[in-house]
Symmetry: C2
Subunit: 711 residues, 2 copies
Amino acid sequence: MIHSLTSFFTPQGVAVIGASPNPGKISHGVWYNLTHSGFTGPVYPVNPRYPELDGRPCYQDIGQTPDPLDLVVIVLPARITPPIVKACGERGVKAIIIISGGFKEAGSTGADLEAECLALARHYGMRLVGPNCVGIMDLTSGLNTTFLTGRPPPGGVGFVSQSGGVCSGGIAYLTGKNIGLSRFVSLGNEADVTETDVIEYLADDPHTSVIAVYVEGIKNGARFMEVTRRVTRHKPIVMLKAGRTAAGEQAVSSHTGAMAGSAEACRAAFRQCGIIEAASMSELFDLSLALACQPLPAGGQVFVLTNSGGPAALAADTLSAQGLALPHLSQTTQTALRDHLCEDIQLANPIDMLGGAGPAEFEFALPKILADSHVDAVLVIVVPHLLLEAADTAHHINRAAAQSRKPVLTCFVGDRNVDEARRILHEQNLPMYCFPETAAHILSVMSRYAAWQQKKEDDGPPPTRAANRDAVRQVLARTNGSRGLGEADTRPILSAYHIPIIPGQVAHSPAEASEVAAALNSPVALKIVSPDILHKSDAGGIRLNLNTPGAVAAAYQELMTAATAAHPAARLNGVLVEAMAPAGHDVIVGMRRDPQFGPLLMFGLGGIYVELLTDVSFRVAPITRAEALAMIGETKAGKLLSGLRGQPPADLDATADCLLALGQLALDFPEIAEVEVNPLRVLEQGALALDGRIILENREAAEDQSHPGRT
Amino acid sequence: MIHSLTSFFTPQGVAVIGASPNPGKISHGVWYNLTHSGFTGPVYPVNPRYPELDGRPCYQDIGQTPDPLDLVVIVLPARITPPIVKACGERGVKAIIIISGGFKEAGSTGADLEAECLALARHYGMRLVGPNCVGIMDLTSGLNTTFLTGRPPPGGVGFVSQSGGVCSGGIAYLTGKNIGLSRFVSLGNEADVTETDVIEYLADDPHTSVIAVYVEGIKNGARFMEVTRRVTRHKPIVMLKAGRTAAGEQAVSSHTGAMAGSAEACRAAFRQCGIIEAASMSELFDLSLALACQPLPAGGQVFVLTNSGGPAALAADTLSAQGLALPHLSQTTQTALRDHLCEDIQLANPIDMLGGAGPAEFEFALPKILADSHVDAVLVIVVPHLLLEAADTAHHINRAAAQSRKPVLTCFVGDRNVDEARRILHEQNLPMYCFPETAAHILSVMSRYAAWQQKKEDDGPPPTRAANRDAVRQVLARTNGSRGLGEADTRPILSAYHIPIIPGQVAHSPAEASEVAAALNSPVALKIVSPDILHKSDAGGIRLNLNTPGAVAAAYQELMTAATAAHPAARLNGVLVEAMAPAGHDVIVGMRRDPQFGPLLMFGLGGIYVELLTDVSFRVAPITRAEALAMIGETKAGKLLSGLRGQPPADLDATADCLLALGQLALDFPEIAEVEVNPLRVLEQGALALDGRIILENREAAEDQSHPGRT
């Protein structure tokens, strides 16, 4: 089956509507690139103002162009574009790129024009890239429909971008640094073709070894996650995400709400899907270069070979800081090196062969080090100088690394003086960087990604637990109109999903409170019940460790008085009488529904430390048990639960159960916007929710969001 | 007074000993650069093998060279260097640069040769740079005694490096990126002239606006701090530090010891002295460029002007993440812009003038934005494209920024295609970077450094508190032979320095324990006293909340039994009976003596969370009260003490007093290697040490370290 995007990259024929002979125009740039980048299929200029262009016949309209014709590039003012799209549909075109701006990004008139183009494309079964984009480049077919001036060499990086500026900057960088490109798509407004569509296409493209993506927003979180999770198992995706929405703009109603913003949701989704997140534009391309050219390391043991100690020390600092090891060489390797290298050198890691080392020393030492079973990857750091010519050294290193199945990265410390060396190295697929920290950081990312690929596929979605959905429906019906549910209403919902709760019951008088306490047969805590008081402890709404009926009754009265003083208008629905909990570690588990990715689960250290320490981890539901345990494991709270300094470990499985249950609750009830259990007290055996609350969506809005995957 | 290093930079005459006509030799490179870089003073080749060199008379030995002669560059094998140094001394030379290696870095023979050269230099009153270095470059006098191939343009960056590789890489980068250099020194082995000497020289140099330094170790921490603290008040120092010593190699005997490693000491010293720490080699130079060329921002309000949204969004992310604000423009500015710019553009921050904006739009908009009082700095991000030529745009921006007293940084997103634009901008002292995140990060560093310069000088050393030094001496004498002092011995030492301690006393029998408890008139805690048990709680050596004489007596017996079970060989010196402390927040205050910088003070969250959370801050003693409060303020523990969510604040002043006291104790008693008070319970009024311990130096070693400033 031919992929519906194929015509964008390897079309049978291409027309440019609006092609112009005027070098000062975008439409000339597109035409010039299309006819000067090696594309061998037929190309047709379309422009009623010219009978011919560059010695080719120029067509009056798209209907007159000969066959074959798969792809049309439109460079016309927005307002006259829709009829042209229609003409393309009638002509039987398969794919359209609209370069021109003036659409959705320019206001409501433009948005209408864009919707019209999309409707026409859908009607005629055409795919549409853009509008408001830079175009497409394909280094396998020579197709170039962009108006950019640079063109990188052919290679393994597939590049997709939502921003035109990142496109042109990126293409300039790839060109300048001689980094090989397979295919490139500028997405523009994404009227039809999205980042996920192109990722899916490049995933199956044998010419693309790594997919580099710049995005500002993800169109369809669920599909994005489904596709990328599959792709990263065999092909790396490096992603740069810009434009965080301010979490502060939302009404913040819980700790989870305050901390689980859109940026966290996106980061969690990337992480769950094995996507490598780039921290900057340069990192997007530098990482992609290494992933495109070199194998992944089998482990985290990195060796540094150099002719200069300072840059190697900087690399070693970075490697160590990022968790990689610098192993010693085996005795065999040491002996082999010792016999041929200057005797002053220390056979440590890094090995500094000193300033006297020539290209031959690099060529000699590198294969020996690569052959050492203690070594998973090698970083070669060269400082060229008067007696060590960079380009010559590059040739020697190329030969030495040619047969390696382990990754080799190189760093030639310099600037213009190492340009030729870079060209030589990149031609042999050896990535070269100018700074030691960059290369060391990239090795650490490769190592983490290798661990992701090596990890067995997760154990699939967890078995459905027999939750009592009816009980939840009843509470939701009963509380109709409230957005925030207090502990009393939250208790039955958590119970319905098997989250264990500290025993307790609501009382409506001092006497009833004493009775409940007596029945619990334990010291008790009292908590005010009010739909208007979410932060009970701030309002003096909690009393702990009450031992006698008299103390319970008195505390009831005090709570009522204090709550009225703090919130005169609050509705008071009694007092919750709960058994005092056994000692344990307090954590927080929570969920906030993200508009793009769905239910975002949170885990972290509980109690008053939550927002102070921001020791939290996130995942998008549904998660597997392994992911729940991983969430716990990556926080400091997780280390605490695992048993610090000889303390017995707490029940990690019970904690994971709560996270899984919250995930299922969120998937079952889209009208729940936030859930928070804080604290969840984790015991040596089991865990107990000591407090909890739920925030509901605006109920009408919830209807629209119940299928976030299909908007 | 002429600085003793002046002859290294602007000498009256220069000789190169070992100068060679052979282009494959370092000594030829040095001679070539010296005679081809614009230096106009007399230069003399010295080499008995040649009668002349490049048409100049070549001298048999240094004694035969004519006057004037200030500076001699030696490029000879190490073993024949000392007699040449002697000859230089007899000839009346003022300064020597030894380029050659083969000295201390090559083993003990080389170390002896180096010591001999240093002794001779001292004897004759000569200063010595190197050995094993790259040389010196001075762009003000044209002097170039290096063998490097690049040469940057003249400018404001002074560059000092301990690594030859970082020297040559750095000079290549500065040259390639057209970044102006004032003077450059490669320090090599630092036999005589150190990084601090050169920093001191460059501080007074009117040609140097920023000092960029690469170091692996600081020779004399106290002098380094004294000099740099003064310099950074008026001239920025950017420092890249490599080669952390592994803290794990030391015997770790306290939390403070585990966390307060050499890297932390160095970072604390940098911070206290206003030194800007670079995170990488590229950052060292990129930061220096901006600091050399542009004024500091008066505040943290940054405006971003661009023709492309994507890169601007990346810049905005970085700016926000680093605490800078993106203000709106005033109505006046908005109106002025609105009238002349395309009406589609949003007057937000960033302002995206869209792809149609030309150089004239940048030239028009930039001065208007700079004139806006809401704006402290502007970042101009340009994405060149077919219709926007980079070099032309650079000229327009130069004109627009020419009169600005506010900092302007530029980012031209690209690679080779923006080289000419960079040259144009750098000639007008407008820094240019290729990636938006880089430029945004640099603005944030400039803003933090501006805050340092604006901050009033600290209030000087705190007044000496009348500590009871004799009491400390008595304890130290009594414990002679122990390295670790338990709580019982630590109590009187802390008391002597006015650190308040929870009331208590050591008891040696169950009956005595009950008596002490009765006298305290409070519930008590019991703690085992043993020089062999440092982590008491791990050994079951603590009982809390004992209310009755019987409970105290019983607990005494239990503690003894438990301690013997856990540590059969431990010496047990009774039990400490202490009043139970009032509620408060537990923090840790500690001190570890760093070999390079002296007493390193630590503050952080206390109790079991110390090592889990690593929420700690460091300073090198002595500190001022303002610094003590700043230490507290930069931790999460400090936020907790200041009162979270409506809680009353705890006593920050009393906490600062404890830090000041520990600093003074450490300065008074060099034999104290570590002190730790954990926890220090901070109350609403006052603070109480609940536990403490002290580790002593090996007492002989302490003698050597009592004057760390003079080694």
